[in-house]
Point group: C2
DNA sequence: GCGGTTTGCTAACACGAGTTAGCAATGGAA
DNA sequence: TTCCATTGCTAACTCGTGTTAGCAAACCGC
């Protein structure tokens, strides 16, 4: 349990001052006119001692921590929604390439000023906030203060820097797809926690598509779930109690849709013949359910990566070119809505095998 | 973009020394005999300025960062295996309760001493390593140095502190279950990256169960995938080329099994009639696949929580009572192996609805 | 040999906090 | 009055780093 060596230890070993060590290892040896021979001696000593500059010391004097925070609304969301995986991967990849670390935080609700606390704790230089509640006081104050924050989703503030997907379009496209298949009684499973911008927009997209097609919004066909598959199953049980039955479901996430599909099948109905299903995210399991899930990608990997890149730009001082990026979305039609779909799965599998 | 206030700012405002501020806010006012009136003044000033102690300054003098590292072998794993979600949740919950933060890192392979670099960077006080490669030089050195490391899995070192599941038993139990159903030609889909302790043990469990039943291990029935569903699909295509066909599959993770099941179904075979499937993890989707997936839980949530608790104990200086915790596992039989299974899903769903 | 430049290095300060030793003032006892 | 104890507070050190001003020696030109 030896303590980590410091720059002083290196200095002692190389028989120079501690300043010299900082200068050489910081790449400013030339400016300070240190002789090649001395530089070599310092580098050698550092390597022998396995010296690694202490982040706290460095962060103190530099005023930067080289770490960003990823704030996730709810710990329960972390536990269950696979949508977070590619998001996290995108963020980790982009930050790692730039030498940043990622601190994952969940916000405890209703406690003072959690966003400010995290931002000014001196642990991070900036943060990415995943789909926060719309109108969160603590977050809004932070954004207005001009600190480096990238919102995934939106708070509707002119000061904010955000990565959004067109959630209205998502709701509209998914619903319109179901309508185009001749479905009339289209149910919607939204999130129980309202107040999340993305979720509300998807609902509005659904409403607009229905209205455009001249279809009524039936309150009995609009229900709620949280982000878990279990809650999707439960919500579907409610919908299966409606008469007449819905002939299609638009669920607000793949996880919820998977729960709902299981409920439909357990009740003895066929997908898509009796009930067609469409949802949002394209998590990896969506292709492997049978029938495979028709879904609108929310491009979590690309979004995460983009958010991290924008944040890094922001932290470097410059306002990014566009303060609001809109990630493209795309409807992926699969067997849960169209009977005779055929996937590119076989092709993908062949490619995988080829690279083995 | 106002700068965060420091203890000096608070001191100035309260018209006291900076020391007094540290003493009061650090809870040592009594020891230093500061008058109640002064204490009040300091607390008021701190609140008015919205003062938050800087983590770097504090960590420097205290020698602790109040942050732990979670090291995940591979970024690609993060992107796709839902098994990580409950694990992450367990770790976040346990650490948050104790005032710790979590830094998520992936290790870049083959680069010097990545574990040592992270540990001695001054960013973290200890780390949890998720299923590292067996025999990793950098990690083993770190463990032997006695620093606070909890391994999920094992490196087989006497110095290590680990949270393990009985992977041999997992492999054995899953395979034995398939055998008990009368299956004889049981295939195994392992991980392509060998060298991971857990993975190798599962394979040995499989071998032992087969041996005990007097069944041969056929090389053509042992194949590999990585952690993705895609690779499970591809691996299954290989197995479907075997003659005669396997009549059961033991896959090393649910994600891989899901890919494999899709391939089986796409080829026109019925699960479990033609081919039974069992795997490991019990990710949330396992219950919602149809047929639902027979699996041995690896209890990722409990494991993560336990690992975090052990690490915190370790960081506080004391050696934990047991340096090697074994998380219990359990076979969950569902429709992918037994035709007429019935789940408690309906009951669960009713409970969810009841709490709404 | 003197003034000026260049070379090679270090002392000293700063960052923001926690902690200890000890100063000054007051109070009480002898 | 003198001595000691207590009260209320702060100066000064520490942690590990980055950076700047500047010291001493060597070198150059005349």
């Amino acid at each position: 349990m030896t303590k980590a060596p410091t720059a002083s230890d290196v200095a002692r070993r190389a028989e120079v001052s501690r300043s010299a060590v900082s200068l050489v290892l910081g790449g400013n040896a030339k400016k300070a006119r240190l002789s090649d021979e001395t530089q070599e001696r310092i580098r050698k000593a550092a390597k022998e001692l396995n010296y690694r500059p202490n982040a706290a010391g460095r962060s103190l004097v530099r005023g930067r921590t080289e770490t960003i925070g990823l704030v996730i609304r709810d710990l329960d969301l972390i536990g269950v929604d696979p949508f977070l995986l590619p998001l996290l991967k995108g963020i980790l990849e982009a930050t790692r390439d730039q030498g940043y670390r990622v601190l994952v935080e969940s916000i405890r609700e209703g406690s003072g000023d959690p966003f400010g606390d995290l931002m000014d704790s001196g642990r991070i230089d900036g943060m990415i906030v995943e789909n926060p509640n719309y109108g969160d006081k603590s977050l809004r104050r932070l954004i207005k203060s001009g600190r480096p924050v990238v919102v995934m989703g939106s708070q509707g503030l002119k000061e904010e820097v955000s990565v959004r997907i067109d959630d209205f379009k998502i709701g509209f496209v998914a619903t319109e797809h179901l309508i185009s298949l001749g479905r009339r009684r289209i149910a919607h499973i939204a999130y129980a926690e309202s107040g999340i911008y993305a979720v509300d927009l998807r609902f509005r997209g659904y409403v607009e598509a229905m209205r455009k097609a001249g279809l009524p919004i039936e309150p009995a066909l609009v229900t709620h779930a949280n982000f878990s598959m279990e809650s999707g199953y439960a919500a579907m049980l409610d919908l299966l109690g409606a008469t007449p039955l819905p002939d299609a479901i638009f669920a607000t996430s793949d996880a919820v849709a998977m729960g709902a599909m299981a409920a439909v099948q357990d009740a003895g109905y066929l997908i898509p013949r009796d009930i067609a299903v469409a949802s949002v995210d394209d998590i990896s399991a969506a292709r492997f359910f049978r029938p495979a899930l028709t879904t609108v990608t929310s491009e979590p990997y690309a979004s995460g990566k983009l958010a991290a890149e924008m944040l890094i730009e922001l932290m470097s001082g410059q306002k990014p070119g566009n303060t609001s990026a809109l990630v493209d979305t795309r409807l992926i039609v699969r067997g849960s809505s169209v009977e005779d779909y055929s996937d590119d799965l076989l092709q993908t599998a062949r490619e995988i095998r080829a690279t083995k």
